[in-house]
């Protein structure tokens, strides 16, 4: 055995047996079990996605989800598991298609708003100066203006026949990019202040490298959270618009179906199944997104974590 202080004693085991981290899958599963919100939310989303995909493949939704396809006003039965409505839509087909369309609107508008938000927020925070002031100024001025009002006015002014799910997505997107912009900007600003950006600059990384290798990975939780919020907001807004009769009225959007059912006084006429499925589906969608939102809250704010 050596006696010098500076070298470890020879013959001692070099390192204790290496510690095995449980495999990724197990850690993710454990986390989802603990973060019940996220787990349940994702489960619902998966269920809905499966429902839509399997439905789209097995049912001829292009025909059956539209009026005059099948017998009208039929309660749920073996032939029409969800019943049919006054106009002759097969409600199962309508749900499958409507869910898909709602998702499309939500994701398109949500993704576009988040993308724009990330880009603008980033540019604003990273480059600062006049660019920052302009972008922030615009966002702040637009913030107190209730977006739904403007969306209603826009939707109300457009020629009814030219409204499609894509126009709806556009209308919704136009007024929802400000939120993500401000959130991302705030995050980038706080990161800019932190040492690791300066260290990266000092170590010679180019701006672009810093952006992609250092900043973006840290931004991901916030981008993800903003995205979920944006999708939620988009679906929320599109429902509001369609339930007022301002959407693409021919499509079996969930809001549209409810609108029609109210027009025909479905409740009072005893056709309870007509508004029921859209309401249930919508509740599922909203709950799932809210749960995911709450779950993501935990990731962004680690102190929320509960452990047994």
């Amino acid at each position: 055995m050596s006696a010098t202080i500076t070298s470890p004693a020879a013959g001692a085991p070099a390192v204790p047996a290496p510690f095995q981290q449980p495999p990724r899958r197990v850690l993710v599963a454990r986390y989802l079990r603990r973060n019940k919100s996220l787990g349940v939310g994702i489960a619902i989303v998966i269920f809905l996605t499966l429902f839509t995909i399997i439905g789209s493949v097995t049912i001829d939704t292009a025909k059956k989800a539209y009026p005059l396809a099948v017998k009208t006003k039929q309660p749920p039965s073996a032939q029409f598991p969800l019943g049919t409505d006054w106009y002759g839509r097969d409600l199962l087909a309508a749900m499958v298609r409507g869910l898909w369309q709602t998702a499309v609107i939500g994701f398109l508008a949500g993704a576009a708003a988040t993308a724009l938000g990330v880009v603008l927020g980033f540019i604003s925070a990273y480059y600062g100066g006049a660019v920052d002031k302009t972008i922030t100024g615009i966002c702040q001025v637009l913030q107190p203006i209730p977006p739904f009002l403007i969306q209603v006015i826009i939707a109300g002014s457009i020629d009814k026949r030219s409204v499609t799910i894509y126009t709806m997505a556009l209308i919704v997107f136009l007024l929802s990019w400000m939120g993500p912009t401000l959130v991302i900007r705030a995050q980038v600003l706080s990161m800019k202040e932190r040492m690791f950006v300066n260290v990266a600059k000092l170590s010679g990384m180019t701006n672009l490298e810093i952006i992609f290798k250092e900043l973006l990975p840290n931004l991901l939780p916030f981008i993800a959270a903003s995205f979920v919020s944006a999708v939620f907001g988009a679906i929320f807004a599109s429902f509001g618009l369609s339930v007022l009769g301002l959407g693409p009225m021919r499509e079996p959007l969930i809001g549209n179906i409810i609108y029609y059912s109210l027009q025909q006084s479905a409740f009072f006429n005893g056709w309870w199944w007509w508004p029921l499925w859209p309401m249930l589906t919508l509740i599922l969608i909203f709950s799932a997104l809210t749960l995911i939102n709450i779950g993501m809250d935990e990731i962004a704010n680690p102190r929320v974590r509960r452990t047994e």
Binding site: Q140, P144, I145, P147, L149, G156, S157, M279, L291, R303
Partner: protein, 351 residues
């Protein structure tokens, strides 16, 4: 070295100077917001080919029997009278000028009623609904949120708060529908729609007010239940952050009772930032209110707006949107002014 405030007096003068400048900035900001909002709302309905005057007369023509040529002449005459035949940009400036004079114009569809009259008739219904809903959902939501994030709350309270938080996701319209169906239709506990029972004359008597109040319950409930979750979620997030703060920890080290820590250390600090959200919440409740009013047939601003959009009565549309934006803007200003009274750190901004 940042020592004690020795003498408060010279300091106070500094503070009020700063406050005045701050106030001026905020007011200017709000004026900009109002201007942007009115400009946006001005140009949008002009895209539509619908002419409100023609709509109105078409309606009359159906029942009254004008000939098409006569109707066109009348419409043209009214167009000229309202200046609708001038170029749009010109109309814009005329309108802006009018606003500065306090003139919101005349409803094109419901002529001869002025926009201002329409707003004033509808306003009381909307204000009562919005104000009560905002306040109640703020209080209930924040309590639910605070309690659900507090680890020492009894677990039944925390489980109960989960559905509340989840409700945030559900659209108030949906909630309204469900409630109409179950409570009003099936159980017949509360009225289906309308602001007051059919046949009763609106007046300032107790029986009328009670009747009207009964009609407000379901709409208010729809809005409250839908907004509570938002506050609860935000408060929960805030609450969790505050819980991790050193001073909450130290409060426990000091041997304070959990109730004291909950109220003076936890809630007081978590609630403060929530107050800043009041103004925007006000705005979002107004927009939700539009839908709820339509659903329940309440003759508030929302219904008037709905009708105006359907007939493309743009004067009314401008007026109402302007009114709402001003309302939200004023709320923001109020909140800005009240906040320093609550948070001692902001008071002495000059330091």
């Amino acid at each position: 070295m940042g020592d004690a405030l020795a003498d408060a007096h010279p300091h106070l003068i500094e503070v009020s100077e700063v406050k005045l400048a701050y106030l001026a900035r905020r007011v200017l900001f709000l004026l900009v917001v109002i201007w942007v909002a009115s400009t946006i709302t001005f140009f949008i309905p002009r895209i539509s080919p619908k002419n409100p005057i023609r709509e109105r007369f078409a309606e009359l023509a159906r029942t009254g029997g004008f000939s098409p040529q006569d109707m066109e002449k009348i419409v043209a005459a009214y167009n000229a009278k309202f200046g609708l035949d001038k170029p749009v940009v010109q109309q814009y400036f005329d309108y802006m000028g009018g606003i500065l004079r306090g003139d919101l114009g005349v409803s094109l569809n419901k002529f001869p009623k002025t926009v201002w009259e329409l707003i004033m008739e509808a306003l009381p219904w909307t204000i009562v609904l919005i104000v009560t809903t905002t306040i109640l959902s703020f209080i209930i939501g924040n309590i639910v949120g605070a309690v659900s994030a507090w680890p020492k709350s009894p677990s039944w309270v925390r489980t109960l708060s989960i559905p509340f938080i989840l409700l945030q996701g559900v659209h108030p319209y949906l909630l309204g529908l469900l409630m109409i169906f179950f409570i009003a239709f099936r159980l017949k506990l509360l009225p289906l729609s309308g602001a007051y029972s059919v046949g009763i004359q609106p007046e300032l008597s107790l029986s009328f007010l009670l009747d009207a109040a009964r009609h407000q319950i379901l709409p208010a409930l729809s809005l409250i239940l839908a907004s509570v979750g938002g506050w609860a979620l935000a408060m929960r997030g805030m609450g969790v952050t505050i819980q991790g703060e050193d001073y909450v920890n130290f409060a426990e080290h000091k041997g304070l009772k959990q109730n004291t820590i909950f109220s003076s250390y936890y809630v007081r600090n978590a609630l403060l930032p929530q107050v800043t959200g009041l103004a925007l919440a006000f705005g979002s409740i107004i927009t939700a209110g539009v839908l709820v009013e339509t659903l329940y047939g309440l003759p508030g601003l929302g219904s008037v707006l709905s009708a105006a959009i359907n007939s493309n009565d743009f004067m009314v549309i401008y007026g109402i949107v302007l009114f709402i934006v001003v309302g939200v803007a004023v709320m923001m200003l109020v909140v800005d002014l009240v906040y320093p009274l609550l948070d001692p750190r902001i008071r002495y901004e000059t330091k």
